[in-house]
Structure formats: structure tokens, C-alpha cells
């Protein structure tokens, strides 16, 4: 499959009075067309910032974002404007991401109106089609967000993202604010849309079970750094990075026969402002050695399975590749 998006050494820093906040720090990965890349991590790891930087809602500090062979970080405003419709975003909170003073119709119509690519009639027709596609009754056209429940509001958010027939959608925790039964409806919808329209997703979430269900590949972030990238199922069966292992063990399981003991991690998260080079998880890692203070690189330890940890081989008893 063709690679739709290639990210190379992407950095996004914010200036704060206390110093530079390294929100996304030297992140590299590829996403193939029609697949879903899950991005997991806890609060403050930079996953949302990564999503927003990819579609240029935020301007990157350094690095390349190559979309279908074109580095979009180097495009001028006009050229970027022409590309934007291909990359859309679904936000986490359906309550705050919809304009409370716009009807559903108006919200879905807005991107098309601004782009000036469609006639009035075309817009009207598309709104109908999209509403049907995401499962909102046509009679709700004139409804306001406050008249809808969370699930329906999120469908409106999805409809808005689809309005311009994008190829790539950043789903930023699209189901976290929803109840479990509604979550399932929305996840199924996202899956169906992907199949029908060959969409490519970057699925940002902290919920490991949701990401497992929907993703082809998963990457784990910690304090701005990418610690592990792997095919979805494999990361659950063989997590290689110490942080991933801890993350997975912390999830309370609904399987009564599987109440395993949690791997203990000490302390709390360190600061992303003016961080020292090297692995940011080192301060809490049971396997810490002085070598961890050097910058860590993503290394392919198993086929398609990358880990940024100098001790990963040792910890997981993986032998070094033999030189032929």
C-alpha cells in the first residue's frame, strides 16, 4: 500500500515563561493509505499536539510532514490552502467543538461554503448525503447542538470532517466523552466510513482497548517522545518498551481470570519544559542505567516493531541481528 503520510523528525515546541516546552520532540513514522495509526499515551504526552501539527492547525517547529510526496511544512499559504481540504480533524469534546449558535446544517455546510468549491445546490445535496452517511435523521437539519445528545453531537463532528471529502482524518479522542454503548456505535461508524471511502486515520486516544480495536498500527508516546511503534496486535502481546509494559499492566481488566499484578512505577511525570536529552521515562524506569541519558533512537527489534530504548533487547531477551 502507498504511504500517504511520512513524518520525519517532527518537533513542536511552545515558548513558556519558564522555557521551551517540548510537546512533540523528534517524532518519525509513516502511515499507509487506508490504514489507521493509533497514537496512545497519557495526559501531556503530546499526542493531541501531534495530531494538530500534522494537519497544520499548529505550525511545526522543525522536521518534515510529507503528504503524498509533498512536504507541507514548506508550502506557502496559498498552496497549503489548496491541500487543507484533504486533511480534517474530529475533536474530542462534542460539547465544545460545535458552535452552539449554528444549526447542524450550518455546521456541516460551513467548510464547503468557505472553500467556494461547490454551488449552493451541490452543498445542500451533500449535506443530505453526509447526514445520512453518519446516521443523523434529516429532520435534524435545523436542530441546535444543545438539542442533541453526546453521541449525535459527535456524529455532527464527524459529518463536518467529511464535508470536504478528505483523505486523512485526525481523530482526537473522538469517543472519550461518550458512554460505552454510544462509543461502540461511533467506532463502528468510523470503521465503516474508512472501508467505504478508503480513509486514513490518525487515532489519538488514551484508551487502549479502543485503539486496539480500530488500529492497524500503534505508536506510544511519552512526554513528547515516541517510545514504541508496532502493528496493533503485537504491541499487546509483546510490548517491548518498559513504559508500554507499565501502561498495559495498569489497565484494570474486565476479565476476572486475568487480574494480574500491576508493574509498579514510582513517582509522577517529569516536566516537558527544558527537558534533558535522552529518554524522558528514565526517571521512573526500573531498568535505568546511565546510558539512558543519551538520546534514544527508534530501532527495529522485530519486523515492523520499533522501540526507542537502549536496553530493550536485554529486557526482552531479543538477540542482536547477526551480521551476514
Amino acid at each position: 500500500m502507498a504511504v500517504l503520510l511520512e513524518v520525519n523528525h517532527l518537533k513542536k515546541y511552545f515558548s513558556t515563561p519558564k522555557g521551551q516546552l517540548h510537546a512533540v520532540d523528534d517524532v518519525s513514522f509513516k502511515i499507509e493509505e487506508g490504514t489507521t495509526m493509533g497514537v496512545v499515551g497519557e495526559s501531556g504526552c503530546g499526542k493531541s499536539t501531534l495530531g494538530r501539527t500534522l494537519i497544520h492547525l499548529l505550525e511545526s517547529t522543525d522536521g518534515q510532514i510529507i503528504y503524498r510526496g509533498k512536504d507541507i511544512t514548506k508550502l506557502d499559504k496559498r498552496a497549503l490552502g489548496k491541500m487543507r481540504h484533504k486533511m480534517q480533524i474530529i475533536f474530542q469534546d462534542p460539547n465544545s467543538s460545535l458552535d452552539p449558535r449554528k444549526t447542524i446544517e450550518s455546521t456541516i455546510r460551513e467548510p464547503m461554503k468557505i472553500s467556494k468549491r461547490y454551488t449552493k445546490d451541490e452543498i445542500s445535496k451533500r449535506v443530505d448525503e453526509i447526514m445520512e452517511l453518519v446516521g443523523i435523521d434529516r429532520r435534524m437539519r435545523r436542530a441546535y447542538p444543545h438539542e442533541l445528545d453526546g453521541g449525535r453531537r459527535q456524529r455532527v463532528g464527524i459529518a463536518r470532517a467529511l464535508a470536504m471529502s478528505p483523505e486523512f482524518i485526525v481523530c482526537d479522542e473522538p469517543v472519550s466523552a461518550l458512554d460505552v454503548s454510544i462509543q461502540a456505535q461511533i467506532l463502528n461508524l468510523l470503521q465503516d466510513l474508512q472501508e467505504e471511502r478508503k480513509l486514513t486515520y490518525l487515532f489519538v486516544t488514551h484508551d487502549m482497548s479502543v485503539v486496539r480495536h480500530l488500529s492497524d498500527n500503534i505508536c506510544v508516546m511519552y512526554l513528547g517522545q515516541m517510545t514504541e511503534i508496532s502493528p496493533s496486535k503485537e504491541i499487546f502481546q509483546t510490548p517491548l518498551h518498559p513504559y508500554t509494559q507499565i501502561l498495559l499492566s495498569a489497565i484494570p481488566s474486565t476479565d476476572l481470570n486475568d487480574q494480574k499484578a500491576r508493574i509498579v512505577t514510582k513517582g509522577e511525570i517529569t516536566s516537558p519544559i527544558n527537558p534533558k536529552p535522552g529518554c524522558r521515562f528514565a526517571a521512573r524506569c526500573a531498568y535505568y542505567r546511565p546510558e539512558c541519558e543519551a538520546p534514544q533512537q527508534l530501532e527495529e527489534l522485530l519486523p515492523n516493531h520499533f522501540v526507542a530504548c537502549c536496553r530493550a533487547r536485554e529486557i526482552n531477551a531479543i538477540s542482536a541481528p547477526t551480521l551476514v
Partner: protein, 365 residues
């Protein structure tokens, strides 16, 4: 919560009629494990606005023994928080209205207590931990002060004694005593929740009500907090009501679980019973809708539709419009059917299997 009156120095003897709580309590906890602590009997609560009446809790009953944990699981709007707050009588009235029912705590009906009596219960014998640690702490008071407040008020001890005890509580929840004089904004979310736990458990309550205590926290911090709660529970023999929407949390922390839907407990049993054999179609639907960590399904099975409008609840089973087993009998009042092993379910499908049928509006044995 009502304002806590601040008192300096020793408490006056006008409270002589109330038992000296602190002295008895430690011995009681140990002796009373397994005895009945809380008995909620058929409570009905609604919220009245000028246009409509929201029926939030419709005939809920459950029992809790000393030292045990019950989980109340359900989705948004099911009524779990209303149930919890009604036990502490901290629902805003109006618009909330306690229509009927009784809540027996250690043999006394909380609903008939006056304000003074309830104040001696709150924070002392029953404590609560709320969902959002960001807003539960007073931002202009140092955390040490907030913990010692409970000692000063309920035990009538001096400031210095209260401070010493508060120090100990901080250490107990894993925070260095050095941080005693810091303000809430200097703590992270997980640490704030620890402070809140310290406040809640300061006076050794018999019952801790935890309303989604970890929903706002990251998964690794959640794990730490749940472990801490379990540890403290063991040490102090505290009973707990754990309100959550997360079945994983229930599996980890609870002995028994009640599934709440549209203001009713539609299924109740031990964790093993409910997880291994979810009886009610809604419970089954909830388990089916959760993406699994261990198995792979192609598509999830959501529960179609949405919870009923609490201002227009249907007659009979509240789940009827979403249930694939619906038939006309579901429009009649559904009793709580009790199985031989104690597992209970409010669904006609189990009428024949039940050993004891309870009429609606009465208390199960």
C-alpha cells in the same frame, strides 16, 4: 455541602448526647466486619422544575456490610450520583425532592435526622470522594489545613494535635509531610486526589462513597489511586460504594455490583455472578459494547437507541424500547427476581428461574 461551622479549641459539652465517636469506632470496625452497615430501602428521588419532573431514582434498594465494597455501574444519567448524594443528604433541595424510602445507617434512618445530626455523620462516619479532584479542594487553603479541619471539627482537638494527625494522613496516602503547607494548585491531578482521600479517611469513616474517583486521571495514576484505596480500606476496614462506568474498575475493587439504569437497579449480584453470567439484556449489552483487550471482533455490538427521557419514563420495564426480547408483558411492572444464589435481576425472562419474587416497591430479603 453545607458550610462547616468552624470551632476553635475544645468542643462544648452540649454534644454530650451524641456518642463519643472516636473512642468506639476503631474497636467497632474490627468486630463488625460482615455485619450490616447500610440499608437503602426503596428510595425514590426526583428533580422538580417548574415545567417538568425528572424521575431520577425510582425504587432503589441495596444493603452493604461493614468492610465490603459495592459497585454502582451505569451510564450517564442513570442516577448513580443522585443515589450517592442522597445517602449523605447533599442533594440540592430544591430542585431535588426525596419522595419516599429509608436509608438506614448503623440502625438509624438518615432521612429523619436533623441538620446537626447529619453534620456529625458527614466527613466523620460517611465520607465522599468526588469525581473531579481539580474542583474538590479549596484553592485558597493549604492542603494540611484542609485535612486537619476534619479532626478539629469532628474530634474537637486542638490545632496542633489536628495538624499532627493530618501529617500522618498525608504520609499514609503517599505524600511527603513536607508538602503540608502547599496549596492545591501545586499538586498534580493524582496528588490532589490523594489529598482528598486523606481528607475523606481522616476521621476513620465506616463508609466511603467514591464517585468516579479516577475518571479524570490517567490510567497509571488511576492504578495507583485504586491500589491506595484498597490498601486504606484493608487497614481501616472501611466499607465503600464505588460509583463508576468502568467495569474494569469494578472487577478490581468490588465485592458486589449493582447495574443502574434509568434510576433502578436492574441487576445485582457478586462481581463473579454478574461478570460470568450477566442476566439483564442491558448488562449483556454493556459487556458486548466494550472493546475487549483480549479477543478480536470485527465489529462492536452497540446497544441501539438511547436511555429513556427521565421526564417521560415508560410504564413497566425502562429498557423495553431497546430490548430485543421485548414483549407486551414488559409493559407491566417488573418485580426484582432473586435467584437461588442471590443474583437478582429485574427482567421477566427470569421469572421461572427465580426462587423468590419480590413485589415492586418492597424490600428484597
Amino acid at each position: 455541602m453545607e458550610n462547616v461551622e468552624r470551632r476553635r479549641g475544645r468542643r462544648s459539652d452540649k454534644s454530650a448526647s451524641l456518642p463519643d465517636k472516636h473512642a468506639e469506632v476503631i474497636v467497632d470496625h474490627v468486630d463488625k466486619r460482615g455485619q450490616l452497615l447500610l440499608s437503602v430501602k426503596d428510595i425514590e428521588i426526583c428533580y422538580e422544575t417548574k415545567d417538568e419532573v425528572v424521575k431520577a431514582v425510582n425504587g432503589v434498594s441495596f444493603d452493604l456490610n461493614y468492610g465490603e465494597t459495592i459497585g454502582l455501574v451505569g451510564e450517564t444519567g442513570a442516577g448513580k450520583t443522585t443515589i450517592a448524594r442522597s445517602i449523605l443528604r447533599i442533594l440540592p433541595t430544591p430542585p431535588a425532592k426525596f419522595m419516599s424510602g429509608e436509608i438506614y445507617f448503623d440502625g438509624q434512618d438518615l432521612c429523619t435526622m436533623n441538620d446537626e445530626e447529619m453534620r456529625h455523620i458527614r466527613g466523620n462516619r460517611i465520607s465522599m470522594v468526588f469525581q473531579d479532584p481539580m474542583t474538590a479542594l479549596n484553592p485558597v487553603k493549604r492542603v494540611g489545613w484542609q485535612i486537619s479541619e476534619g479532626f478539629r471539627y469532628h474530634e474537637g482537638v486542638s490545632q496542633s494535635v489536628a495538624d499532627k494527625k493530618a501529617h500522618k494522613m498525608l504520609e499514609l496516602v503517599g505524600i511527603s509531610g513536607d508538602r503540608f503547607r502547599e496549596y492545591p494548585h501545586q499538586f498534580s491531578g493524582g496528588m490532589k486526589q490523594r489529598v482528598i482521600l486523606a481528607m475523606a479517611l481522616a476521621c476513620n469513616p465506616d463508609l466511603l462513597i467514591a464517585d468516579e474517583p479516577t475518571s479524570a486521571l490517567d490510567v497509571t495514576i488511576q492504578a495507583q489511586i485504586l491500589e491506595l484505596i484498597a490498601e486504606l480500606q484493608q487497614k481501616k476496614n472501611t466499607a465503600m460504594i464505588m460509583i463508576t462506568h468502568d467495569f474494569g474498575v469494578v472487577a478490581k475493587t468490588c465485592n458486589n455490583v449493582g447495574v443502574v439504569y434509568a434510576g433502578e437497579i436492574i441487576e445485582y449480584g457478586t462481581v463473579n455472578q454478574v461478570f460470568e453470567r450477566p442476566m439483564h439484556p442491558y448488562t449483556q449489552g454493556l459487556f458486548d459494547a466494550i472493546p475487549s483487550m483480549s479477543s478480536d471482533v470485527d465489529r462492536l455490538s452497540p446497544i441501539l437507541g438511547a436511555p429513556p427521557d427521565p421526564t417521560k419514563l415508560p410504564q413497566g420495564c425502562k429498557f423495553q424500547k431497546r430490548c430485543k426480547h421485548f414483549d407486551t408483558h414488559c409493559r407491566e411492572e417488573i418485580p426484582t427476581y432473586k435467584m437461588a444464589d442471590g443474583h437478582q435481576c429485574k427482567c421477566k425472562l427470569y421469572a421461572s428461574e427465580a426462587v423468590l419474587e419480590n413485589e415492586p416497591q418492597t424490600v428484597p430479603e
